[in-house]
C-alpha cells in the first residue's frame, strides 16, 4: 500500500504521457471496435472492482457470485448504450487497466485476480483525488457505471426504501 501510494505521487507528467501512449498502444493491439466489447481481462477487472465499489450492498454467501455476474452484465449494458465515441473511451480505460505495465503504473496493483480489496480501495481512493484529471474522471466513470447500473435494477430498490413507480402505470 505504501509503495503504491508513493508510485502515484511519481506519476505526474510522465504518467500522463504513458497513459496517452498506452491508449494508443492498446488501440493498435486490437481493431477499434464499433461497439464496446467486454473481454475477459475487462471482466476480471470488474469482478475485482465492483465488490469494493458497492461494499456491503453486494450480498454475501451463496448469492454473491450470481449477484456479481449480474452487476458485471449491468455495467456492460450501461456502456453499450453510450455514444460510440464514449464507448471507445471506456474501451481504452479498460484496456489500460488490463495491460500489466499500465495497470501497475496507474493503479499500482498486481493482476486483478490477486489484488486484495484493500489494494483496490486504495487505488480507487487515490484516483478519486488524483492530480491527473484523467484518472479522477476514470474514477468517476467507474463510480457512475457500477453504482448507477446497480441501483437501476428493481431488485435493489427495497433495500433503500424505494417503492418504485406506480405499478398500474409501469406495467
Amino acid at each position: 500500500m505504501q509503495t503504491s501510494r508513493r508510485s502515484f505521487l511519481k506519476i505526474g507528467l510522465a504518467g500522463a504521457v504513458t497513459l496517452a501512449a498506452g491508449g494508443l498502444l492498446y488501440r493498435q493491439f486490437r481493431a477499434a471496435p464499433q461497439q464496446f466489447e467486454l473481454d475477459s481481462p475487462g471482466r476480471d477487472m470488474l469482478a475485482a472492482v465492483i465488490p469494493v465499489m458497492l461494499g456491503p450492498v453486494l450480498p454475501d454467501g451463496p448469492e454473491r457470485a450470481a449477484a456479481l455476474d449480474d452487476a458485471i452484465e449491468a455495467v456492460r449494458i450501461a456502456i453499450v448504450g453510450l455514444p460510440l465515441a464514449v464507448q471507445k473511451e471506456v474501451q481504452d480505460l479498460f484496456g489500460l487497466m488490463a495491460l500489466a505495465p499500465t495497470r501497475r503504473l496507474l493503479a499500482g496493483i498486481p493482476p486483478w485476480a490477486e489484488a486484495t480489496p484493500e489494494q483496490i480501495a486504495a487505488f480507487l481512493q487515490s484516483w478519486r483525488g488524483h492530480r491527473l484529471a484523467l484518472l479522477q474522471s476514470a474514477y468517476h466513470a467507474l463510480h457512475d457505471l457500477i453504482i448507477g447500473s446497480w441501483y437501476a435494477q428493481p431488485a435493489h430498490w427495497a433495500a433503500i426504501g424505494y417503492p418504485g413507480p406506480m405499478k398500474e402505470l409501469a406495467a
Binding site: 456491503p56 448504450g81 480501495a121 441501483y151 437501476a152 433503500i160 402505470l169
Partner: protein
C-alpha cells in the same frame, strides 16, 4: 396496458406523416417549404406556427418517437432512450454532467415542468450589452402569455411534496423569501416522474402539444435522422444532408437523406445547433460560433432528515428562491437560484460521492434524503464567458466549459447557503456533494468545513440541466452570429430558433424563455414566407 389514452399512437393510426429513418433502405430526397431541425422547445413551437400558417413543414429529429405507452418510469430505460448520451453527456474534462433530451419533444419530454418568464434583469442586460432592443419584458409579454395559454402554464395548486416543502421551511426560518413554481401541466397526477417521460400525458411538452398539432396540419416528422451538414450555394442553404441512424440511435445505418427547402430553422438545442453549423462551416467572421455556451452550473446538497422525505414522489419542482439572484448586481458576484431535484435511485446514487461502506450508508437513507440545487447564473460577470463547443474527430460535439474563479466563489457560497437552509429545516446531517466533504452534523461544523473545501473540477460535483447559447443572438454583428430576428448572419435562408440563441444564461429554467421568444421569431418568419399574418396557436 394502462388506460391512459396515447395521442401519438392515435395520430399514427390516423395517418400522420411520420418516417422512421431507421427503417429506410437506400438514399432519399425530401422537400418542404421549411425544414425544422430538432423537435424540442424551439423546434416544436416553430413547426406548429409555420404549419398552422399554411407552410409545408418537415421536422427532423435525431431521437426516436416515443410516447406514453413507452414511459414506464424506470431510469434504466428512460435515460438511454430519452437523453443525449444516456443522461451522461459531459463537458470535455468530464467534470460537469449534462442532462439534455433526445427524442421527439427534445428536453421538453423529460424536463421537470418548471416554467418562468425570462427575468427582466436578464432582458435588461441583453438590451444593454447585446443591442437586443426588441427584447424588453413588455415586448415579449404577449408572446409569453400566448405560450402560457397554449401549454397550460398555470399556478400549481397542490401542496408541495416534502422535498420542496423543506426548502420553503428552511428558507422561512432564515427569512429568505421563496415562491411557487408554475408548471405546464394539465390534469397532472402528481406522480414525480416527469424526468422519465410523462406516463399520463399531463405534461404539456412539445410531444403532446405543438408536434401533434403540426402533424395534424400536414407536417412530416422524420425521426432517427441526424442532421450532418448544410450544402451551401452562395449565401443559401441548398440542402441539408442527414444520416439515418440505426434503431438504437447509436450509429448511422448507411442510408442518407437529402432535405431541400426554401428555409431552414436550426433548433437542435445548445451544443447540437452550433455543432451542425460548425460542421457545415457556416459564416463566422468573428469566431463566435459555439462560444458563450452556458450551463447554469448546478451545485447539489443532500440533507438527511428524521422523517421520510420520499423525494421521488410528487411534482418534482414546486418551490424556488431567487433571493440570491436579486440581492446583488447581475454582473457582480455570481448569484444562484435555489430549487430541489426529484430523487430517483440512479440519479441520486451516481450523484452521491464515495464508494463502498460510505456510499452504502448514504443510500440506506435514500427515502430520508432531501436534495437541494443551486443553479449558478453564468454569463453576466465579466469573467463568466461560458464554454465553447468543439467538434470531435468524428464530428460529434463536445463542450469545453471551465469554471472561472467568480463561478467557483459562487459555488462555495451556494454550498454554504444550502447547508444552512437544510439545517434550518431540521436536517440531522448535511452532505454537500463534493469528494472531500463529510456528512456534517451542525451548521457550525458545516460552515467551517465547507469554507475550506477546495473548489475544483471533479472534486466539487457540478451538473447541468440547462444548456444555453453557442449561436449568440445580438443586435451587433461583432458579438453574435444571429440577429435579433433569429436570422443567421451571412445566410439568406437559415434561422436559429432555440436556447442556443441566448447571449447569457437565463437565470431561470429556460423552457418558457424558449417558447415565448421562438413563438415571436416563428410568427415573423411565417409572415415573411407567406406574406400574410402568422396563425396563432391555441390550446386544444
Amino acid at each position: 396496458m394502462s388506460a391512459v389514452p396515447d395521442p401519438i399512437q392515435a395520430g399514427l393510426a390516423a395517418g400522420w406523416k411520420v418516417i422512421d429513418a431507421a427503417t429506410l433502405d437506400g438514399h432519399r430526397t425530401l422537400e418542404a417549404d421549411v425544414v425544422v431541425i430538432g423537435s424540442g422547445a424551439g423546434g416544436g413551437v416553430t413547426a406548429e406556427i409555420l404549419a398552422l400558417s399554411g407552410l409545408k413543414v418537415l421536422i427532423v429529429e435525431e431521437g426516436a418517437l416515443r410516447s406514453s405507452k413507452d414511459f414506464k418510469m424506470r431510469e434504466a430505460e428512460a435515460y438511454p432512450a430519452l437523453y443525449q448520451e444516456s443522461a451522461a453527456r459531459k463537458t470535455r474534462d468530464k467534470s460537469i454532467n449534462i442532462l439534455q433530451g433526445k427524442a421527439v419533444g427534445g428536453s421538453t419530454t423529460v424536463n421537470w415542468t418548471s416554467s418562468f418568464r425570462t427575468p427582466p434583469a436578464t432582458l435588461a442586460f441583453w438590451q444593454r450589452e447585446f443591442a437586443l432592443k426588441d427584447y424588453s419584458p413588455e415586448a415579449l409579454a404577449p408572446w409569453f402569455a400566448m405560450m402560457e395559454q397554449r401549454l397550460h402554464i398555470e399556478d400549481w395548486p397542490t401542496p408541495p411534496n416534502e422535498n420542496n416543502e423543506l426548502l420553503r421551511k428552511g428558507a422561512a426560518k432564515l427569512n429568505i423569501p421563496v415562491a411557487a413554481i408554475r408548471r405546464n401541466v394539465k390534469g397532472c397526477w402528481n406522480l414525480g416522474y416527469c424526468g422519465m417521460g410523462c406516463p399520463t400525458n399531463a405534461k404539456q411538452s412539445m410531444l403532446v402539444t405543438t408536434i401533434p398539432s403540426a402533424l395534424q396540419h400536414g407536417a412530416t416528422l422524420l425521426t432517427h435522422a441526424r442532421a450532418e451538414r448544410f450544402v451551401w450555394q452562395g449565401d443559401r442553404a441548398d440542402s441539408l444532408q442527414c444520416s439515418a441512424l440505426s434503431a438504437d440511435g447509436l450509429a448511422p445505418s448507411g442510408s442518407r437523406i437529402t432535405l431541400r427547402a426554401r428555409h431552414f430553422v436550426v433548433a437542435g438545442g445548445a451544443i447540437n445547433s452550433p455543432a451542425l453549423l460548425l460542421r457545415s462551416r457556416a459564416p463566422d467572421p468573428h469566431s463566435l460560433l459555439g462560444r458563450r455556451t452556458f450551463l447554469h452550473p448546478t451545485l447539489i446538497s443532500a440533507g438527511i432528515f428524521e422523517q421520510a422525505v420520499d423525494g421521488f414522489s410528487g411534482a418534482p419542482q414546486t418551490i424556488y428562491s431567487d433571493h440570491f439572484l436579486e440581492t446583488q448586481a447581475i454582473d457582480g458576484p455570481v448569484g444562484f437560484k435555489l430549487e430541489v431535484p426529484p430523487m430517483h435511485p440512479v440519479l441520486l446514487s451516481t450523484t452521491m460521492a464515495g464508494f463502498g461502506q460510505l456510499h452504502a450508508d448514504t443510500m440506506r437513507q435514500f427515502s430520508h434524503l432531501q436534495g437541494m440545487l443551486a443553479l449558478l447564473r453564468d454569463g453576466f460577470h465579466a469573467d463568466s464567458r461560458g464554454g465553447r463547443v468543439h467538434l470531435r474527430s468524428d464530428g460529434s460535439p463536445e463542450l469545453d466549459y471551465v469554471m472561472s474563479k467568480p463561478m467557483w466563489e459562487g459555488a462555495q457560497r451556494a454550498l454554504l447557503t444550502m447547508a444552512e437552509i437544510q439545517f434550518a429545516a431540521g436536517a440531522l446531517k448535511v452532505a454537500p456533494v463534493h469528494e472531500q466533504a463529510r456528512h456534517y452534523s451542525s451548521w457550525a461544523e458545516a460552515q467551517k468545513e465547507i469554507a475550506a473545501l477546495p473548489m475544483k473540477p471533479l472534486q466539487t460535483r457540478v451538473a447541468s440541466a440547462h444548456v444555453m447559447g453557442g449561436c449568440t443572438m445580438s443586435g451587433d454583428e461583432r458579438s453574435g452570429v444571429v440577429a435579433g430576428d433569429g436570422r443567421y448572419r451571412g445566410l439568406s435562408n437559415v434561422s436559429v430558433h432555440d436556447g442556443s440563441l441566448f447571449p447569457t444564461s437565463i437565470g431561470a429554467n429556460p423552457q418558457l424563455s424558449i417558447y415565448g421568444m421562438t413563438a415571436r421569431l416563428a410568427s415573423q418568419l411565417a409572415q415573411q414566407l407567406t406574406g400574410k399574418p402568422a396563425a396563432q396557436p391555441r390550446a386544444a
